[in-house]
């Protein structure tokens, strides 16, 4: 049996030795609109369809409806997977708002403690092996100091690793090309950077595997496309 979780995103697994190593935390970063969420959706949906694995999509930024609608645009039916118990889309922001009325929670903010609690409960009844957290940037807003955020993030990372989940953490990039808090990449076992750039008057999307522990990965920048059916990476093409 493979010790990796394949994403089954055409062309991507070839770059990373077949997929993400089991039990690892993987950071998907990129500027807004770089298809980070779509990458996360593919990871879970393909896992459910192709490997019969259960996945959890924790969303803090987008509403559940928004996620469903976005997926439908690529002919991905998330609701049927939910009905089959293969996928859980959890709108954590909304859930928290329903539970409490404190000022912070009115904005849908959630701490890593909240995520810890949720995951512990969830994993007690589901056999999920894949997780997407969209996004770690939103969780970070809960914390007023970077020190505190760093400590909590490390605690949360430990929980993820011991829970047997292979996780994707989505994180935004600043305009300088850095992660928002500058610490996400240290916690993660791998870092995938999605981007777009101008070339001969056109925008093209690019993907770079910046880091991947336990894996001999392809570090080059590859173009990828968002086709009718979703993301397609071109491992044969290299930019730069």
């Amino acid at each position: 049996m493979s010790d990796r979780k394949a994403t089954h995103i055409p062309g991507f697994d070839e770059l990373v030795g077949g997929g993400f190593a089991d039990g690892t935390i993987n950071l998907i970063t990129g500027p807004p609109g770089s298809a980070k969420s779509l990458f996360g959706i593919h990871y879970l949906v393909n896992g459910a369809h192709m490997d019969d694995e259960v996945g959890i999509y924790l969303t803090l930024e987008e509403s559940r409806e928004s996620i469903l609608r976005a997926a439908k645009g690529f002919s991905i039916d998330l609701e049927s997977l939910e009905k089959d118990g293969k996928l859980f889309i959890v709108d954590l922001g909304k859930m928290r708002m329903e539970c409490t009325s404190s000022e912070e929670l009115e904005w849908g903010l959630a701490s890593f403690d909240t995520l810890n609690d949720f995951l512990k409960n969830h994993l007690s009844f589901s056999s999920a092996t894949r997780l997407v957290l969209d996004s770690v940037t939103a969780v970070g807003l809960y914390y007023k100091s970077t020190e505190l955020l760093r400590r909590e993030l490390f605690k949360f990372a430990r929980l993820l690793k011991t829970s047997g989940l292979t996780s994707l953490m989505i994180s935004e990039l600043t305009s300088d090309g850095e992660t928002r808090y500058g610490i996400e990449e240290f916690v993660a076992d791998s870092m995938i950077k999605l981007d777009y750039e101008s070339s001969s008057g056109e925008y093209r999307r690019t993907l770079t595997v910046k880091k991947m522990r336990f894996t001999k990965h392809d570090p080059l920048k590859h173009p990828f496309l968002v086709m009718d059916t979703g993301i397609e990476v071109s491992p044969d093409e290299v930019i730069g």
Binding site: S199, E202, R204, P223, V226, M227, E232, S234, E237
Partner: protein, 726 residues
Amino acid sequence: MKDVEVYGKLLEEFIRKVTSPEIGQFRLEVSTFRIILERERKTNPILNRFSISETGTTTNNLNDKDESLLALQVVLQRSLDFLSSLVGEELARDLVMSSMQDSIKDLASHVKESPRLLRFIPPPFNDLLKDMVMGGPQATDHDEVLELFQDIFGSYMKDLSAQTDLSALKLKLNILREKHRLLRHVEVKKNNTIVFDKEKWANAPDEEVREALVEAFNSMVGLSVFLVGKEEAMKKASRSLEYYFESKEHLIKRYRIRDHIVNGSLSRRISTGIDELDHRMHGGIPKGCSLLLNAPSGIERDVFVSRMMTVGLNGSSSILMVLSKEPPRSVRMLLRAQGLDPEAMEEEGRLRLIDWFSWRGERIIGVEKEGYTLKSSKILSNLGIAINKGLRELTFTGSKIGIIHMIGPALNIFDLNQVYNFVQRLRAKFKEDEMASIFILEPETFSDEQGKRLMEVFDGQIELSKRMVDGTFKREISVKALSGSDFDSTPIPFIVKDNMLHFAGSEPTPPSPLPEVVHTPLKQERRKTMVNARRAPSEPVGQIIREDAFEDIDDDAWLNELLEEGAADVPETVPEVRPLAIKVSEVIVEVPEPPPAENEDDGPLEGQNKVPVKPIIKGRKLSKKGKGRSSEALTGVIKERKALRASGPPPVRPRRVRKALGKDMPRRSPPDPAALMDEIDITGTQNSPQKLLLDAIETIDQLLEESEISVPKDPHAPQKAQKKRP
């Protein structure tokens, strides 16, 4: 003479031939053979009774026993192997075949008397001897190939039986027996071995034997594909052939086994479609090789490419084509004209068209799919993605051919380094996929420096040249370079007649017959239009003119063709013409009145959709390449057209022209077109030639208002307009 003496004589003759100056650059030294003999003596002391002098003569004291013959066979084989290691197996064989012909004649009578000799004489010597002794290759002797296939099938059956029940295979063989009578004489034994009744096969011609064996072998490979996957099955098939046919190259050649098994996917070379050129490369383009086709735009290149595609698709190849100068529908039309069904081939995974043309006219984001066609936006990384996708979608088992036409247009957009890197990546990918490819490059689109740099990327170069010698065009095709393989660079002169390439000294027919008309894409249409314009006005003519047909016409080629057409009127000296001169393209479009349909609902005949034609007249600025062309020549051509127009029926109204030029011109009474043409000064010396041209357009507009046209159109394209009657 004893057998052993005959053998010694054969060896001596071989040494004499390959050490003689006649052999040219591949000449060997006698000392080489002395060293080989010396080495063999160490393992076989019997050879001490045989010696080779410094001049190459032999002294033979061997006794006439099999062991002596075997010892000499080893020496001969080692010598041949040495030659092969220097010049390649194929060339070594060819050298032997050509140089030993006469020498072996003398030995043939001895061999006839003593057939055992043949057992000890290795190929290709024994092939020659057999031919002489038996009067040509014996179609009746299939024992050798049957024995080999018996072994191959035995090994396959053994392997397959370990993984599955062989009943499916046996059933398939039973079905094949209906188709191939020879397979009725094959017995599948209980221990999963196969036995051929050789006597029953003995009198069959080679082709029939091959077909039967290939069908049976393909069935086994098919079952193997089902069990272990395509890649593994192909590897196994290839290994089997390599193993069993090792040193049996004569059989491979005789039966052309590799070219047929598994749709030829095991063949090592891909035909260019032109036998003469294939011979220059010893069988065609080696698999995995990317060659540069250095050819100017024009009918020659179009016919060459068309021929390569047709032969490939009619055979067992699949084709990936990158288009940058014409839309995919042109290629489909071309293939249809050759009697092929491009849509079915696309569905089959045998044909993929990569459209790098449409981005000029429509908005393409990244890579888009339209049916089976992959459209790429301008940037090269997207083109690369489209090509890779297309390559993955070529699922047909046969060999793969790539026809890539993008370098010239890419050099106009991107810098040389970008294009260089892109082509280099493509070549690596094609090599990995064992795809034989040609990259088309027009000599007029790059500088010498760029050409040298680009050439580094490729495995070889084919040059197609056309130049004017003594008032006539001299056309030649040659292999300029081919790495890792021997080739003959002698140019092959040819002419283009009836849209086919005809080679000097050969019958004016291609190796395998093509349909009479080869419709090359847009340029061909343009050419026909020009021809149509020359016809007598009463002759019915009909031609499609599309605006996009003129978009990417190369000035040089256009002028060449124009000059060629009107060669009689063209002076040989060509003074320079100012670059800003106007070139008037041809616009005569006439169509015979279609017979009235009995039933209006019948609609157009299949393949003859009728739409109103939108002919155009286009004024174009000559590029810098137009420099050096003759103004007189152009004037002559224009005058000729003018005369035709004046005497012929009114041409069709070009509705789109005014729109395209953004002019909203009022209508007026039509002036005499001949007089109008006189006003046009193509050298640009009079005022506003553009205006005069517009006037001419307007005039023709007026004259042809009542005209209506029916045009043969791509039958698969949706019918866009109803026909009208005047």
